[in-house]
Each structure stands twice: as structure tokens, then as C-alpha cells.
Subunit: 215 residues, 2 copies
DNA sequence: TGACGGATCCCCCGTACGGGGGAGGGCGGA
DNA sequence: TCCGCCCTCCCCCGTACGGGGGATCCGTCA
């Protein structure tokens, strides 16, 4: 397995190298001290795993991660930082990092983390997982949808897939008038003006979520 | 540390008990075979950690978790299931579980998971973490929006807040006709039919996200 | 039994919406 | 310099949409 290490502190790089080098079958194929060099390194060596520091001069680790991921390189970026800042975690996730761990974790856990991301999985250190879960859960009760009947829920799901009244009628084997009356009752129940606002309410309430079966 | 075990299969309960009992300082203070009994058990014993199966007769593990969490009990629920279904993970997170692991993980990892949630942290098994990150990042699974001009992006954001053409015109100090032409070019660029589908595309692409500034 | 809500369907009507076409000003790249 | 893009505004037109009335059938529940 081929590993690259990116950190602006040579001492940290040496430490990481020492830890990872103790594992058999692993090979540290390159090092970099800033984001620019990190992207170049990843492009040239195409390592399996890249340990990425966040705070670096010039292009920081998050931006470098973004570039590496969006370049479609076969490299799993494991973000490795000193600070337990939640925003770092979220930004790293959004940047496309495969994992997020603190530098101060014991060597065995770091090795395990590298193994996990190399296997195509992901991991966060426990405290981050907690905040992620909290934010995920907290997003849920943004608004609560009023009680909708079975049929109305079906129609709302169809609305959230961008269907017109005619299409919904065809899909559910109904007359357009029936669909219209369902839509009308949905609108009044949700207290919104039109189907677009109904779809927004569906997303905001978690009734439908991005990335779910759109069709 | 006081632990409770909830699973409808007596054999599984015995197995878990055997694994956890091998740790010093841990005490299995109760068992339950369904959700109803789980809530009663948690209320009565107030354990530090509760291992919760999902698939159970009657009230399932997710609903039981919801009740335990919303009751404000000092119990960290570690959801433990056989199936690697993503929806289970998300539902468990929403229900307030502190962790989510598969039954088939090695005993050492299970023990580690109990230790983590008991410490007030959270954890997911790696494959779940990956899907959670992906959904959170909302980059990969979604679609990519074609290039929109500044103005078009403003208009799309307004659309995603449920605004009508007239309202957008007022907000942006434009003529309704201008808004209409922006909307028209958005629709053609996104390849969609109406504003509702445009809003859906905005959510699915991550251009806007649930829980973000709705107003 | 009757009341009630859900689901289905019908008609009328006004309008916001979306398609098509065009036109002018500003600003940066070729 | 001229071309192209963006932003702005204008007109016409057809229709899907949403609001307002209904009506009928069905199950549940009191």
C-alpha cells in the first residue's frame, strides 16, 4: 500500500513516517509541506492513502483535499489535525475527505484509520462522530409536517419528484381532478401557496431528503 | 459500568453477555426481548449503556430508542444490528442513538464501541460512516448544476425559498419580465420544465440544503 | 343509525407561469 | 475594433395551476 504524508512541520512528517513505516507492506511514497505540493504529489504518485494536515501555508489542507478529490484521483484523503474544531470536520467531509482523526490518537488507532480508509470506508474520531450525528439529528425537526393522509403523502412525494398534476394522475391511476383536490388539501394543510413551496416544505421537514430515489 | 441488553433472540443476548462480561468493572444489569420491555428496563435500571437490536416484535428498536432518548434517561443507546441498511443508520441517528455497529464485528471492537458510547462519544461502523459522510457532503450522490450566472444563482436561491416571480422582482428590484427571463434561462440550463423541478435540482445538487437559511 | 373523514370525480374561473420572439446597454475577450 | 455574454426590459399567447363551488362512495366510530 502506498502512502503520502502532507504536513508543514517536518518533525510531524518524520513522526508519522516512523509510525506508518513500522507496518509491513506499507510504503511512504512521498511527502509535501503545503497544499500546492500536496496536489502535485497526489497527481504524480497516485498514492492509496494521503495523510493531510489542515493548517498549512498557502493552500490549506481542505482546499488541497477538494482539488485532489475533484480531480478524480484514486487517493483516499485522511485528514489529520491537531484541533478538535467541529467546523473543520464538516468542511473536511464536504471537501471529500475519507476520514478525520486527531494527531494525538495513539499510533495503533492511526494505523487502523489508515487501514479503514484504504479499504474504501470512512471514519471519524468519536467526538466528531458525535457532533456529526447531533447535527444530522438536529436537522431533522427543522419543521414538522402536519398530518397528511396516505394518499396525500403519495401525492406529495410525487410533487417532490417534480411531477405535474397530469403525470401524477397517470402514475396513481387517478383523474386529474382528484390529484388537484389532493394537492389543494396538501397546500392548505401545509399552509403554503403553491406546489413549489410544498416541495420545499417536504425537503425542510425531512419528508424527503436529497440523494433519495428521485425516480 | 452498568449495561443492558435488548434483543429478541435469547441466544444473541447470551452471546453479548458473554462478550461484555469478560470485561472487568462491567455489569449486565438487565435484558429485554422487545421494545416495550426495553423502555421499561431503561427506565427502571437507568443503565449507562444499552445495546439495542432493531428488528424486534412489537415496538422495534428504533422506536424504543426514541422513547428512551426523549425520556431524558442517562442511557447511551448503542444500536446493534445484523443488517447494513443505510436507512437503519439514518433512522437510528435520528432516533438519538449514540452509536451504530454491526453484530458481526469482532468482540474487541464491540467492547471498544461500548467504551466509546459510555464516554459520551459516538461511533458508527466504517461503512456507515462513509454513507453518512457522503450524504452529508451531498456532493457525490447528487447532481452537478450547470454553470449559472450570478444573477441566475440569486434567482434560483429565491425560487428555492418559494418566491413567486413577482416577489423575486420586488426583492431584487427588477421588472417581472426580467425575473421571467432569468427563470427561463435557469430552466433551460438545468434542463427542467418548471420552477418546482428547478428547486428540486437545487436541493439534489446541494446548491441549497435543508436546514439552511430558509429566509 | 347517523356523523365523519377519506378518496374519488366534476365544473367554472382567474391568473401566474412558461415558451417564443425581440431589443437595448454594458463590459470584457478576441 | 467588433463579437459575444450578461443583464435588463417588452409583447403575445397557451395552458397548467390553484381557488371556489359541489357530488358520490366507502369505511370507521360513536
Amino acid at each position: 500500500m502506498r502512502i503520502a504524508i502532507v504536513d508543514d512541520d517536518p518533525l510531524v512528517r518524520m513522526g508519522l513516517k516512523a509510525i506508518l513505516g513500522s507496518e509491513g507492506g506499507w510504503d511512504v511514497v512521498g511527502e509535501a509541506g503545503d497544499g500546492e505540493a500536496a496536489v502535485a504529489l497526489a497527481t504524480r504518485e497516485r498514492p492509496d492513502v494521503l495523510l493531510m494536515d489542515i493548517r498549512m501555508p498557502g493552500i490549506d489542507g481542505l482546499e488541497a483535499t477538494r482539488r485532489i478529490v475533484s480531480a478524480g484521483l484514486p487517493t483516499a484523503v485522511l485528514v489529520l489535525t491537531t484541533f478538535e474544531l467541529d467546523e473543520y470536520v464538516f468542511d473536511a467531509m464536504r471537501a471529500g475527505a475519507a476520514g478525520f482523526v486527531l494527531k494525538r490518537v495513539p499510533p495503533t488507532e492511526l494505523i487502523e484509520a489508515v487501514r479503514v480508509v484504504a479499504a474504501g470506508e470512512s471514519l471519524l474520531f468519536p467526538a466528531s462522530t458525535r457532533t456529526v450525528i447531533e447535527r444530522f439529528a438536529a436537522r431533522e425537526p427543522g419543521i414538522t409536517l402536519p398530518e397528511l393522509t396516505e394518499r396525500e403523502q403519495e401525492v406529495l412525494r410525487a410533487l417532490a419528484r417534480g411531477r405535474s398534476n397530469g403525470e401524477i394522475a397517470a402514475e396513481l391511476f387517478l383523474a386529474v381532478e382528484t390529484v388537484k383536490s389532493h394537492v389543494a388539501s396538501i397546500l392548505t394543510k401545509l399552509g403554503v401557496r403553491d406546489r413549489t413551496q410544498a416541495v420545499i416544505a417536504a425537503y425542510e421537514s425531512g419528508f424527503v431528503a436529497p440523494g433519495e430515489p428521485t425516480d
